[in-house]
């Protein structure tokens, strides 16, 4: 039985690490570290680096949380640990 929970936790950590990479890339990466080179790309009135810092990162955060909700609910069902 313990093996099952170890597996669950491992899969959970994989999901966390992949999503946190996304979190880092969309805020610190595109909004800060690479903001300056990205600013040479334009999208309507927005320079891309500036857009990621003031708009895009926020939308990415929402998508990341709901991806997490979806992936974890699926994992809970697969391992039969879903609460009623």
């Amino acid at each position: 039985m313990d093996e099952k929970y170890k597996q669950y936790w491992k899969r959970n950590l994989t999901i966390l690490v992949s999503l946190l990479i996304g979190w880092f890339v969309f805020s610190y990466g595109l909004g800060i570290l690479f903001a300056e080179p990205l600013n040479s790309i334009r999208f309507g009135g927005f320079k891309m680096g500036f857009w990621f810092a003031q708009q895009g990162s926020q939308y990415a955060f929402i998508i990341i949380i709901f991806l997490y909700v979806y992936l974890m609910n699926r994992l809970d069902r697969e391992f039969d640990v879903r609460e009623e």
């Binding site: 800060i32 009135g45 320079k47 003031q54 926020q58 929402i62 997490y68």
Partner: protein, 557 residues
């Protein structure tokens, strides 16, 4: 109708609503008082979390700060939203599974130590008091500007309202008033911005109007960059803070957000682990509604402001300028006596001082919107301040009643008496907060950096290590928290109180400002904890089982 009449009607109606909800949702047990019975639906918890989180600062000051900081203002936008990813992924579900009442509860139980619990109680109370003083002050300021009452009387009115629902209803009362307050504040924030976006860019969505064109066909943001250059200010879309500082401030605000006790406890109130995950997502949607609008408002208002005021004859300024001059939020000092307002990035020739708060507060007047919109903005500012104040006061009251009395001093306390102590503590906290609102310590702005820095350097690492590192023991956690807090607090105190004249990039450690130092404090906390744990005893078996247990939702078979 007059502005004042509208304001009285709208503010009065919202207050009546909050009191009505308070009476309807009285708390009967400590579980009601601490975690609203643990059965708040996730959607409501999302709204309540958003209102809990968005303070007077977010509502009144943030757009203005962004208008003056440009790109550098992004630290607030990313920092105060990105923290929810950390909350949702790393904290909320596990703390919900743990299923107790407070953050010190978790720290004390996980590290099997009343010493660790006391360190956590101290940090929670300190963080909450520094933060709540600003909210009471914000309440007083809104009252004085919109309703012409003294700031002191405004603070007292705010105290009475909060006292009513926080003391009677505890978390249950707070939760449902926060749901109402969220609706009021978001409506009040969005209505004027949508009007302005349509007027300036022809686009009803401020998030799109932000990247749109003005009447003459130039892009709004290009216009802003042009104006900045003309006035000798930093480029709006690239800013001038060093990159490392932007990085560290953003991180400190994100981690601090995830470590603030009044936000964390909101996730104790939902029924199940998966509800904690979902409600973090809902909370972020509700927060981003305001946070993605704020930078658009900042850009609209700045162009508008510079266009109407810069290079204008003082005798020809619009009415709102003279109105707000009386409050001291704008000041014109005619240095060269030519009667023309010159706004410039060069302090030697700049004749205009603008308080950032004016961007939101005077916004409806600048855009020439109807009087009821102005009343709405007042009600929105009050909703933002009162909802945050209530959440913080509750943390103070539960820390005292539950963690100090029930769990440490008097374990045989009956539920009924514990509830009474919680109410008395809440009442007492309201009075202390009101006192600081009326007599603010002269460093309100710095205390916000303080609250976030300390939350980042104390709770966040202790909780994360407690969940993700089973072998973390009490010696490591306590040593880490003490070093993290001590380092962060000394750095901030040194640069803001002892040697403020040295507070510039040349003297900062690695170029990190006091606002961003909490990130380093957090790393230091973790490093110390991970070293100390190698030389001390592993935690007892039942603690390791507790950790395994909170990692999986549902009952273990």
């Amino acid at each position: 109708m007059e502005i004042q009449t509208w304001t009285f009607i709208i503010v009065g109606a919202t207050f009546a609503l909050y009191i009505g909800i308070a009476i309807w949702s009285r708390a009967g047990t400590t579980k009601d008082f601490y975690v609203a019975g643990g059965n708040v639906p996730p959607l409501f918890n999302g709204m309540a979390t958003a209102a809990d989180w968005m303070s007077a600062g977010s509502f009144i000051s943030m757009a203005g700060m962004i208008a003056f900081l440009g790109y550098d203002g992004s630290v607030y936008l990313m920092g105060w939203t990105g923290g929810y990813v950390l909350l949702a992924l790393l904290l909320a579900p596990y703390l919900r599974k743990f299923g107790k009442f407070t953050v010190p509860d978790f720290v004390g139980d996980r590290y099997y130590s009343s010493g660790a619990r006391m360190v956590a109680v101290f940090c929670a109370v300190f963080i909450s008091f520094t933060y709540v003083a600003g909210q009471m002050r914000g309440t007083g300021i809104v009252f004085s500007r919109f309703l012409n009452v003294e700031i002191e009387i405004g603070v007292v009115i705010g105290m009475i309202i909060v006292f009513f629902y926080a003391v009677m209803g505890g978390m249950k009362g707070i939760t449902y008033t926060q749901v109402a307050q969220y609706c009021v504040l978001i409506f009040a924030y969005l209505v004027p911005v949508i009007f302005i976006s349509i007027m300036m860019t022809g686009n009803a969505l401020p998030q799109l109007g932000f990247g749109g064109t003005l009447e003459d066909g130039t892009y709004l943001l290009d216009r802003l960059d042009g104006l900045s250059e003309e006035l000798g200010l930093a480029m709006y879309t690239s800013g001038n803070k060093p990159m490392i500082d932007v990085f560290f401030i953003t991180a400190a605000l994100m981690i601090g957000t995830a470590g603030l006790p009044h936000v964390i406890v909101r996730f104790f109130t939902v029924p199940r682990v998966r509800d904690a995950r979902t409600s973090a997502g809902y909370a972020l949607i509700f927060i981003v509604l305001l946070y993605s609008t704020a930078p658009a408002l900042a850009a609209f208002a700045k162009v508008n402001l510079v266009d109407t005021i810069h290079n204008t004859q003082y005798s020809e300024v619009p009415d709102w300028f003279t109105n707000w001059e009386q409050t001291g939020l704008v000041e014109f000092n005619d240095l060269n006596n030519d009667g023309i307002i010159n706004y410039s990035g060069d302090p030697a020739t700049n004749e205009l001082r603008i308080d950032p708060d004016i961007i939101v507060l005077a916004n409806p007047e600048i855009a020439g919107l109807p009087n009821w919109v102005i009343g709405l903005v007042a009600a929105g500012g009050l909703a933002a301040a009162l909802s945050t104040a209530a959440g913080l006061l509750l943390v103070i009251s539960t820390s005292v009643a539950h963690d100090l009395f029930k769990r440490t001093l008097k374990p045989d306390l009956s539920d009924k008496n514990e509830l009474w102590i919680a109410r008395i503590a809440a009442g007492f906290a309201v009075i202390v907060a009101g006192y600081f609102g009326i007599n603010p310590p002269g460093f309100v702005a710095q205390t916000i950096a303080f609250a976030f820095g300390l939350a980042a350097a104390s709770f966040f690492p202790a909780i994360i290590l407690g969940i993700f590192y089973k072998k973390m023991n009490k010696e490591g956690a306590i040593a880490g928290m003490i070093v993290g807090v001590f380092f962060t607090a000394s750095y901030i105190i040194y640069f803001t109180f002892i040697r403020p004249e040295l507070n510039n990039p040349d003297h900062w450690l690695f170029g990190i400002s006091p606002e961003g130092i909490g990130t380093l404090g957090m790393l230091l906390n973790m490093a110390v904890a991970l070293v100390v744990v190698r030389f001390t005893k592993s935690p007892p078996q039942h603690i390791q089982e507790l950790v395994e247990n909170i990692r999986v939702p549902g009952k273990r078979s």
